[in-house]
Amino acid sequence: MKDAFGMPQSLLVLGGTSEIALATARRLIARRTRTVWLAGRPSPALEQAAAHLRTLGPDVHTLPFDALDPESHEAVLGKVFAEGDVDVVLLAFGVLGDQATDEREPVNAVRVAQTNYTGAVSAGLVSARALQAQGHGSLVVLSSVAGERARRSNFIYGSSKAGLDAFAQGLGDALHGTGVHVMVVRPGFVRSRMTEGLEEAPLATTPEAVATAIETGLRRRSEMVWVPGALRVVMSALRHAPRSVFRRLPI
């Protein structure tokens, strides 16, 4: 159960090698979390992540999960919920893709869309149903500011996050009053493996900062969290910029 400050005792991470997710797990373990499930494609990295979290004290389990195989989600996630209540599901999987390559290789582009959007639709709905049955819990969805308005430089990734973001907001409204809380997290440029080698955008942040914002958001039962918070204002301005201007902006 979550306590009065929204701190969970059990956490399920979908996308168990995500740096943001692992930073969040470390913060939550420091508070109340005693059981962690890391779901992801089987890999040494996933096992290492689990081993590292174990040194902090909790029971950590890994389980094979593939966003691109939605047919399996029901069975895989069902097993976790059968073991006991899950207080927070952190939907953290996603791929950035390579915009230039993906524009030439539509099959690659579709993989980005399928991982980030349709994979999340499936996993999100399966998790939501299980949370609703237990009558409590939070579904935390890692979206991105890139989804607020798709930019020329990464509109394939951006459009997939836009779909995810809209889906998660709608799901949150659908679950209002059921005891289940959906929180959409919109980080800006996060310095991590995913963005290694890319030119840093203004207001860049870190996985730890996103984790802190998630902890605060859980405490406040927020529905939308921007990291850093100033991005909310910046993106609001960008969203309202005329198309002809937006197209020419160096972003």
Partner: protein, 460 residues
Amino acid sequence: MPGKPGGPVAPDTTVPVTGWGRTAPTAARLIRPRTYQEAADAVRNCGARGGIARGLGRAYGDAAQNAGGAVLDMTALDRIHAIDADGGTVLCDAGVSLHRLMEVLLPLGWFVPVTPGTRQVTVGGAIGADIHGKNHHVSGSFSRHVLSFELLTADGHVRTVSRGTPLFDATVGGMGLTGVILTATVRLLPVETSYMSVDTERAADLDDLLTRLTETDHRYRYSVAWIDLLARGPATGRAVLTRGDHAPLEALGPRTRAGRAPLAFRPRSLPPAPDLVPGGLLGRTTVGLFNELWYRKAPRASTGRLQRVSAFFHPLDGVPHWNRVYGRAGFVQYQFAVGHGQEDTLRRIVARISERRCPSFLAVLKRFGDADPGWLSFPVPGWTLALDIPAALPGLAALLDELDEEVAAAGGRVYLAKDSRLRPELLTAMYPRLAEFRALRAELDPHGVFVSDLSRRLGL
């Protein structure tokens, strides 16, 4: 809106439920049994996620919530069956509130044996949490005055439970986890009037307060101290003591309004607090100002002032829904007890809270008397401090965790009826008879029919 059961609710409605602190809402099927049979049916059919009884929802945390399961709103079982006006006992349903008992009993010259800071609790809840009041140092907790009760257990049967049995001691303070209390027989206190004769004095700091309480508490049936936790430096722990007893008839004077109707029960009420209060209204500045005024307005020393029972015991009941003043984020109540000889722990905790500038305007300190035998009953002989803090206060979770460690190290405990955030690992240290409680539950309720968010969170 976090739900407040009580109104006419269709059967099997899933609604979000919170405690009085309005934190951590979870959804449950709210069932409002109108007969004992309906209650038994609800227990038999409550499903895989179990059920828990709920009274008027005054537990601050998650004691009367059950995510995904059933919550039995017991307030429709509210009949007073028999009053023994000579012997001073009442037999009533568990859903009867202490408010209702006062309405009925005061005109007959009887008063409830123990009342907490609100009349809006049910008899079932009072037993389940084994509540205490300002008279604990004299009269003990509520269970001391319960002669017997009927308990609906997991198998759907009703058992009559008498004092001195393991099931009695597990159920009083057992937070509803042994079953659903249906009726109870409670011993009453004879009174001549519905007025209190109250002495008030100020204590300049915490040591002064502890000395006054230790030396003169035995002279009063009721005693409590409001403590200013925002005062710092030499004034740390300054307090206003209010102590008193039921006023005898001759204290009223025959020609006064009170004297003409000495046993009238007329609680006054203001309009309810609005539902949409911005969070952060009760910050350090506003609460600091309030505390300063509250301390200054109290007389340095006054004796024999007459007060109605409602004003003396339940000032907050005068503002319905006062819990809304903390805004959407809600609030946390922290109450702990430490034994005699642990005054240094108490001093350290008061100093830490006041250093951290926790905006708490409802902090009370009380000296507990002898403990009662309930296995999870909260009071231990010594000191108890209770304070309300807005849940949104940054750093509060970590601060309270540190205070828990101090309390546990001193052999103390926190009060489960108010808890919404304790670290489960500390529970066995705080409640040494927890193992017996768990064993009894395992035997009585092997399939775990009675479950609450509190029991899930703490592994009770």
